[in-house]
Each structure stands twice: as C-alpha cells, then as structure tokens.
Symmetry: D2
C-alpha cells in the first residue's frame, strides 16, 4: 500500500506542476487614463464585491485578476456574513476570501482590503465593513454588536444601496435612527451613492449634508463583463480615492478625509474642488487668441487627454461671438469646433469670457460643474 | 434565545428573497447562425470545462449561464478527479458540480452532461469521462480501474490534449499501448484535436485512421472571455455534433456514430461529407448565367448566410475567364466580385466549371475542401 | 508624332484596365434583419443624400456602394439645385449624379432614384423632389415654377428638416401658407420627421393630421460613418417603405399610399398598424403556460429575431403575479426573465393578461405602442 | 429682372451660411500613441492618396479631414496625371486638389504636400512626385521629361508598388534600366515597400542595398474605412518619418536622409537603429531582480506604452531559468508573465541575459530585431 501511495503522491505533484503550466493564460492589464489631482494619486477602487464564499460565482483570486485587468488599484472582498447559500459545499469561513487572494494581489500590486457585508433587514439594511481583521468574529446575532466588533478591529463602515427596491419598494432612500447611531459610533465614513447601475439622489445629498464620502461600487457577483453586458458603459462604478499612494493606510486616511468621487456611466460625482481639477487636467484648448474678419469661422481644437467623456453645454458668452452650443469631448480625442462672429458687421477686440456647463460632472443632485474660458478676440467687420 | 433565533431565521429568509432579486441580472443568449445538415441539428457543444470544484475559478451554474449566453446547446462539467487544489475550502465531491447546475440547465434548455477528468501522467495522460453517473465512484488509484468503473456506469471516454507540452515537451502527440487498451475497452470514442487554442495534427490523423470522433473543447478554467481575450476569435473551440435533437441520448448516439466536427479559429475540421454540406448550406450565388461583351466585367454577388467566415482560393477554371483569385466570404455578408474575359478577343459560350479551395474547411491535416461551381457563360468579343 | 500618340493611347488604355484591377477592393453588404409585414417587403430607404455635385464630399457611385454595404434597398441622390460650391471645378449638371451612378446601382440591385434639393429660404425652406426626370430643367428663379416643373416631370415632393435651426432659430417647425399651396398641388407626399439626428415632433404631428408620409433621411454629405461617428447608433435614419417590391414604381406607389415608418436611434416611428406588425414579427416568447408552487420563480425566454432593440415597460398585469418591470430585448438575442407569484400564499389558475409599453415604438409625439400577452397560470400556494 | 437677381443672390448667400452650419458635423482626431525617437518626432505620414480629381471617390478636403481624424501628421495628394476617368465632369486641373485642401490642412495643422502620380506602363511603372509646385506642367508625353520637369520644380520621387500584379503578373518586383536612370537623376529617394496591403520583399531589399527610404502608403481611392473593412488592422499603412518637426522642409530633409520606417499590419519595417529605439521607448519591465526558492514562480509585469502590438519569441537564456517562450505585448497594456527555475534543485545567483526576437519588427526581408534583457537572479534550491 505504501508504494501505491507514494506513486499517487508523486502523480499529484506532477499534475500540480502541469496544471499550473496549462493555466498560465496570458493576463493583460488595461491602463485607465485618468488625471492625478491636487498632489494625490487618483486611485480606482471598488469596495463591494462577492465571491463563491457567499452568493458570488467566482473564486476570490478571480476578483483580483479581474480588477488588475480592468486597471483598478484597490478592491475589497465583501462577502455576506449572514447569507451563505453555498454553505452545503463550502463551509462558512469569513476570512477565507482574503487569505486566498492576498498573495496574488501582492504580486500584481493590487491593494486588497478585507471586508464583510453585514446583511440585515432595513433598518439598518446592508453595511459593508472594510479593513476587517477577523471576519469570523463578526458573526453575531445583534447587528449593533457586529458594528462594535468591527470598530474594535479598526474597521470602517459604509451603508450599501440605501435606495434598494427590495428594502425600499419605492426606490427612495430613507434615513433611520439606526443610521444616526452608526454616525455616532464614528465608524460610518461613507454611503453608496451608486450601487451597480443605481444612483440614489437622496444618498448623494446626505453625503453633502453629513460630510460623508461618496462611494460607487459594483456589488458584483458574476464576472463583471457578464453583469454589465447590457449596460452601455466602459467600466463598473468606480470609487475614485485621492490618496498619497495605494497603501491600505493611505486609502484609509483618504476615506476618513472624504477624498472620494464616483466615476460611472459617463458621469463623475463628487465635490466641486475635485471635479474642477479633474476637468482642467483632462482638457486643453489649442489657442487663446482668435482673429477674424467678418463671419469667417475659426477652428478651435479642444483636446481631451483622459478616458472620461465630457459633455458641455454653453451657458453664457459675449452675444457677438457664436460659440458652439454643445461640445462632446470624447475620451482621448481632439474635437474641432468653429467659432465666429454672430453677425457680419461685428467688431470685438477684447478678452471674452465663455462659460460652459459640464453636464456629466455632478457636484450635487441636479447640479453640474461650470467651467470658464477666456479668449482674446480680434474680430473686425468685413468691409 | 429561541426568540432571537426565530427573528434571525426570518431575517435570513427575507435576505434570501431580496438577494435573489438583486442578482436577477438580465441574461442574454446570442444566436449562433450555423446551418443544420443532413437532417440533423448541428449542436454546438463543449465537453471540457472546469469549476471551483477542481482548479476552475467559477461556480458550476456559471458554466451553464455562460454556455447559454454563448449560444451553445450542450456542455459537460469535467472537473479533475485527482487534482483538487481548493479542497481546503471545498471538500471533494465529484457529483456536486452537476447536481448544483442541473436545474438551471433544464430551465435554459442547455443539455448538461456529468463528466470527470481522469488526471494522470502520460501514458495515458488526461482522459475525460462523460455521461458519468457517480463521480465519486471514480476515485481509485489504478487508472484502468477508473476507466472500467466509468464503463460500468455507461460513460464514454475521450483523450484530452494528447500533444500537451507539459506531457509531451516537443508538442507532438504520441500513441501508447495504453491507448490501444482504451480502444479495446470500447469506451474511447474520440480525441481532442483542438484543446483550447492548440491543434494537434497527429491527433487529427488518428481520428481518421482509427475512426474516432474529432473533438474541440475549451478546457476553460476562468470565465471564457477572460482566457480568450488575447485570441482574435469569435468564440471558444466548439465541437459540432450532428444529432437528431439535443437530448443526452441523441448526443450520445451521435458521438458513438462519430457525427462531429470542430469549429474554431475561423476553421472547421471534420469529415468531407459534413464540411461539404455546411458550406453549401451557408453560401449562395446570385446568378448562374453571365453574358458580356469583350472584357466588360460582371458582378457576382456571393452571400454567406452563416456565422462562419469562408476563405476561398481559386484552384482551376477556364483560362478564358478571369475569376477572382481569392474570395473572403465574411459571415452574414454578401461579397461582390467581378468576373470577366481574360482577353479582349475571347469567345466563350458554354457551361464553365470553376473550382475553389475553401482554405478554412479542413478535411485532414494539410487538406482542405474543394468546391465546384458551374456557370453558363456567353462572352462575345468586342468588335 | 503619330507614333507617339498611338503609344500614348495604348498606355492610357492599359492604365485604365490596370487601375480597375487595383481598385477592385472587396465590397461587402451587411444584411439588415428586419421583418417584412402585411404582405409587403420592408424596404430600407434614404431619400436625401449629397455628392460632390453640390456640397457633398463623395462621388455619386460611392453613395450607391455605401448604401449597398449598409444593407439599404433604395436611395435618392438629391444634390442642391441652387447651392453649387464646387462649381469652379465641377460645372453644374443636375442630371450627372444619377447618370454616373445608375449602372452600378443596377448591378448591385439598389433602386436609385433621381432627386434634387430645391434650396430656398423659409418659407418654403428646402424641398426634395424625387423621381425627377431632368434636373437641369428645375433651375428656375421662382420656386413655385420649380415645383410645377417637377410636377410636370411626374416627381414627388417632400419638405426637408422643417425645424432646422438655421431657418427656425428656436428649432420649432412652422407651417406657412406656402406649404398649404404645396399640399394643394398634390405633389407633397411627406415630411422629414427625422433629418440626420434631429427629430421634429411638430412635423410628426402634421404627418398624422394631414395624412403625409413620415420620412427619416440622413442628409449625408461626407461618408456616412464619418458624420455618424459621435452618435451611438447602429445606422443612419432609415425610411422604411412597405412596398410590393423594390422597383421605383412600387416605391412610388407605397409613398403615395403613405406606407412608411422611420427607424433611427433605437426608435421606430410610424402608424400603429405598422409598428404592431413589426413588433409581433420580431419578438416571440417560449411558453404561454406557467405552473409554479409558492414564490418559485419560472424562467420566460423572450427572443428578439430582428436587428431592432425593443425596450419594454410593464403597464399592467394581475397583481398576484410579479412580471419584470422592464425588459430590454436586445437585437438577435434571447432574454431570460423570471416570473413568479407576488406573495407566498397566492393561488392563480387563469389566463392572465399582461400589458407592456414598447418605449421605442412611437405612434405619435409622446405616444408609444402597447403590446399584450396572455399567459395561462397555475400557481398554487406553498403548504 | 434686376430685382429678382438681387433677391436670388441674397438667397444664395444665406443658403451658403446655412449650409455651412448644417455641415458643421463634429470632427474628432484620434491620438496615435507612438514614441518619438533619437530627438526626432515620429511623424505619421501617407504619401499616396487619390481624390475625385483622378479616379478617387472623395473631395480633396475629405482626405485632410480623414488624415486628421486618423491621427496622421502629413499627407500627399497624388492624383494620376495621365488617368482622368472623371474628366467629362471635372476638367483636368492637376493643381486643384492641393489648392482646394490647403486652407483646411493649415487650420488642422496637417502638413499637406502637393503630389502627382506619373502613371505609366512598366518600366518605369507608376512614380509619385511629391513637393510638386505646378502639377499641370507635368503633363507631357515622354515620362523622362516629366521626371526632369519634376526635378526642376524641386520635387522628390518614389516608385509606387513595384510588385503590382497588373504590371508584374507574378507579383515579383523587377528593377529596370529606367530605374537606374531615375537613381542617377538624384530625384528618386524611396520605394513603396508596402502599397495598400501588399508587401514587396524585393523592394525592401533594394531599399537596403541602394540606400533608399522605405515607404508604406495607402494608395487610397475610397474613404479609408471602406477599403480597409475586410483587413483586420487598426490603421492604413503609415510611413513613419523621423523629423525635427512637421514642416514640409523638415519632412523633406528627413526623406532625403532616409529617416523612415513603415508601420502596418502589426509590423514595423525599417532600419535596426530606428526599430530598436521604438521598442525600447515602448516597453518597460517592472523589475530587474528576481529572488525565489525552488520552482516558485515569480511574476514579471511587462508594460507596452504604445499603440504598437509586439510579439516576442524566446531566443536564448540561461537553461536553469524558465522564461516564457512567447510574449504578446498588446498595445497600451501590461502583460503578466511568470518566471521560475527550470528544476527544483537549481541554484542561480548571477545576472542572466535573456534574448527575445521581436517577430513584428522587421529589419530586412526575413529578419527580425532581437532585444536583450538582463535580470539579477537569486534562486536557491528548496530544502
């Protein structure tokens, strides 16, 4: 018997090696072209993902590979604590996803954050704890005890999808006393303004009013491309974190300092001070002086050096100059627009201020960023 | 405590329902446009896939959804018996993948076949058993005993990737006495001529010489789109099975009757009798009579009504007529080509036979299908 | 000198032949998958295109090739009569575009219609005459004389882009006495409800009120893919003409009978009787009986066999059954949705009528088509 | 009558303005990500294009817009002098294309070069003159006189598609005494090694042997996307010119100095000194030190910061280290590969040199560039 066993072990060893070779599929990382701002790196993060260890359909390492491919910098694995539909086949272990994936994350320079989804009826609804140290210690009946245990571990908390129709049938987020309690614990740093493809304006307004970080996460269960197939978007919801570097400490510091924005569905949502910088680091114009005679139209080349599409609408300008009413600044492209006098007999010799609204830069529910350009005009009437 | 537990159970129940709702992502099936032939349906099959129950990275139901989306009709789940790298977290159970996925397969009308990969050193290398009844009964030290157990269960067997470099460092498949033994058992019905993106000409030739079914399978471990990202192909390797219907019985009957072909990388590999039918059911020409004067060129509209791209090279024709040297018949498109006299003073009033080689229809290693068209010409010299 | 000339002529002759060969780029026609309805063919038409013979940037034959590639059946070349910016290099000849392109159109089975754009200030604005016989005879100062000449030639007329901001700065179409005059002549059969990417609701309403054909045309000047690059649409605005065949006579008859609809930007605009047929010929459901116990959810496979995307919103249904609130039926795909009881204790044993609004099938400004399904339910409460 | 005329003129004027507005389609320029080298800019050029002024199908300004969109820096308009198939509608004027397009080129910062294709039987075949001053002065019977006139104007000459099957039915380029004469004139600076999608190895070798610039041009007649639809390539053949700036003078100087390469079909063709720089400015590796124990595999992240895809094959390395046999470095992506000891008991503590062949960087017919990496290894056997 011994002999047989030995042979068997060797076989397994060899298989192990062979299989590794077979699995060595090439892996590609896409670069996301997004400006760093205000002396910080603009980290691309997703703080809400699932694996087979709760109701997800993928192995934990896959989430890391997927994030790496998608050009992300930081992800959290946040399997449900209370909902374990695979437990007949996978005994519950709330530390396993992080333990399994951390070596690969380190090799790929992905910052992996241990998390857990506290999965309760509303209120308080679902809460994600991140920077968790021991997931199994979070299994408790009383959700407040779970929160306090998370706090003891140094974790941070955010409230997931407050407007989720399964918990708010009218799709309108509601703030409960329980959330006041969460605020008071000091552990609640942010809210999911975007969960998957759902935006919650109430939640957005709470972030502004209560000084909480805006968050946009995928809440992905299947492979990403699978869930997002019907959406006409380039990527999952991304929480942009403006941090010194991509270390867990810097991410944590940035979250506590509310240095976040959300990038999804051709929109960026966040504080004016971040959005203004992102726009001005992305877009440049080829000239700030225009001379013309009569209604001769002059080209203006507007270059967007980022992966963000910007949609601009004219707000106001000198009525003697005809600026384009709309400008779609497609990612990584240069747009040619034409500028000219509004009438044949116009004479303009001054610095003209033109204001555009950037429709997809959202500073508050229903509010967009305005940007201003100044151009020296020298327009003389045609004789 | 009782009370608490009750509450807790109710919570879990509600969560269960809610989560189902959240997960109800839209699911789309793509239609594959491929002709049925010879009174059979042309089933699109993949007999070699992995899940988290061996070294794959996805939950078993995902393989079914993925196949459904990709327009496939039949898949086998064939996790490794001997290689169980996730066993620290997922206790080995070789029936689990099939048991977990079969309900969804039935709902989606996907024929799901229980399989297992017998994972041994060469010889005999890796063998896939399909139509397995009890995977756990296949766990035995002696591989021949495994094969005999599989036979007892009514399973069929094929030899995976005979040219795999991890087992044949020169990448050349070799036939061993062990494979003769397998043939003699009557359980071996086919060989993987294509495994993932690797074609083995030796294996192809063995199929022809030994009357075995040609098979092309993905051997996928990650989500498919992930592994195939760097390949410039529309889909995974597909084993085409020409069967009466998609029931397991009909698939089995077709496999035993060697009614298969392989579709991958813009190529179809199989017996001439199948390839000829596939081509003639895919491609039509708008006219079989051409009249012209002098070298006036006449359009010929060649329509490809399938998802297969066909690449044709001219083999022979009447030297007085100039046919296109090449025709790329792109999937679901009509190609316009021009035909004309080779010289100004030519007179052709007859039925002309033109022969093309279809470069991507492979009947044997290095051999392609030839197709023949007959066109009535009436060309008169220009005066 | 004679010798030289001879040589020179031969050289030119050979060059001619050679160049033809060099230019013989492969040409592909894409198939548009759109249902024929009510015993008619659904012709894909564009009645408004330009060439270098006015202010377009392409040679007339290119418009035909482009239409053929795009899968269209019918196009009109409608160069401006009065606006000839290339005339320093191309002497005005309003019959030239049609004369140049008609041979190729015939070879490719594209119905080519001679047209001309009568290009005047508002009112009456720009008018397209189609089925013109002599474009040069339409050059007259008085636009009414042009219209009467067109009528004499048997041409038909439609009014282009009535809401064009260059002629209606507020973008709202206005009906003038001149258009009443046009109606009275009997030559005006339709209006451009869609011109390029601009929809005019006023124009749409006029078509309904005055029994005029709805038209959607590209008004393309550059190659199409060039102008439509920034639009996220699959194709140009298409006027669907429901005609016996694609002959000019049948197209004309259908236009006079107002058998048209517009397909653009994922929308179809037209009379309810056409839209209903288009939808029901496009979409099928895999079952009309559903049995379930408790809240067990049952899959419904909804197949869209056309190139049109359909977006459905639930309008009304039996409150005991939970139907999907939205269904996006992507072109040529099958959607899986789930249906189940609204509560655990429901009992439904009857034929249930469910009504959906098809958001992208527009029967009048602001009105959409409703479609009704009947499904036999047998739902029993869980015990 | 006077009155009418006045009104008519005003109408035309207004129409002019309106039409300009209608035509003002948004125009986007794509950025090509290609490294500048050796202190020069890497200009993207196409020296062979056609318009309606010979046998092309587009207006001259379109070529400029198209080049601008495609991210090119320099184009030449090179209509045939002797082949004028549109002359019944467009009177021959060999200066017109340049005159018409130059204003737009200047606005878009595209360097537009006046050219002409001298279109003769072989020998000498077709020759492109660029930097032409008066195209009409080049219309002469004797082709040598045309060349001498071109020289008088300060033009440069290259030989187009020497292997063109219409002039060399076997597709093999042949060098004639006429080409020696061209060399002697000093006006011939380069050869089309790539014309459209045809590569000529003979021509490539002549460039090396006779010190002529390699050129790859589109020879486009239709809009580009139309001709290249069936090709699976990202862009037209591009002649890379390494010049101080994009002024005509600098381009001319670079051409005379043979500072060119060709980029097409995932290949770059040119002198080793340019290709080596292009590669090393495109590709970087994340580490040059690797420590491991036993056969533990270590990730190496290889980043390609350019729009060029690079395909590498392993040539030689230390046999104790297992490097990937192939590396596909996709444009703008990072590839993760694994490196490890070839056996369990290996000890390597040294700087290891590994040589790869870059299969798509072609220095001569059949020859590719080799690149060398040096990595410090510290591998210790597993105990």
């Amino acid at each position: 018997m011994k002999k047989k066993n030995k042979f068997y072990l060797t076989a397994i060893l060899l298989i192990n090696i062979f299989t590794l070779a077979l699995n060595a599929q090439p892996q590609f990382r896409n670069k996301i072209n997004f400006p760093d701002i205000l002396g910080y790196r603009s980290l691309k993060c997703d703080f809400h993902t699932h694996t087979v260890f709760s109701d997800g359909n993928v192995w934990p390492t896959f989430r890391v590979e997927e994030a790496w491919r998608d050009g992300l910098d930081v992800i959290a694995l946040t399997d449900h604590l209370e909902y374990q539909p695979h437990k007949d086949h996978i005994p519950s272990n709330h530390n396993a996803p992080f333990q399994i994936a951390k070596k690969l994350a380190s090799e790929l320079d992905i910052t992996l954050i241990q998390g857990a989804e506290i999965t309760r009826n509303m209120p308080p609804g679902h809460l994600n704890a991140i920077f968790v140290k021991d997931g199994n210690a979070l299994v408790k009946d009383d959700w407040k005890e779970v929160v306090l245990e998370a706090k003891k571990q140094g974790a941070l908390l955010f409230w997931n999808h407050p407007s989720w129709v399964a918990q708010q049938p009218d799709g309108i987020a509601k703030w409960y006393a329980e959330h006041d309690w969460l605020l008071e614990t000091g552990i609640l740093f942010g809210l999911e303004v975007y969960n998957a493809n759902i935006y919650s304006p109430e939640t957005h307004q709470w972030c502004i009013d209560k000084n909480l970080a805006v968050l946009g996460n995928s809440d992905v269960h299947d492979p990403l491309h699978f869930e997002w197939e019907a959406e006409k978007v380039a990527h999952r919801p991304i929480t942009l974190v403006f941090a010194k570097d991509s270390s867990p400490e810097s991410v944590r510091e940035a979250l506590l300092d509310r240095r976040t924005a959300i990038w999804y569905d051709h929109k960026i949502i966040g504080d004016k001070k971040y959005l203004k910088e992102i726009y001005s680091k992305s877009v440049s114009i080829d000239k700030n002086k225009i001379s013309a005679i009569g209604r001769d139209s002059k080209p203006l080349l507007v270059t967007n050096n980022s992966d963000v599409d910007y949609d601009l609408n004219l707000v106001s300008a000198n009525p003697n100059i005809q600026f384009p009413k709309e400008m779609k600044l497609m990612a990584n492209r240069t747009l040619k627009v034409s500028v000219r006098a509004a009438k044949e007999d116009v004479s303009v010799k001054e610095k003209v201020t033109v204001v555009y609204e950037v429709k997809n830069l959202i500073t508050a529910p229903g509010k967009t960023l305005q940007v201003t350009y100044e151009i020296d005009f020298d327009i003389r009437p045609k004789k």
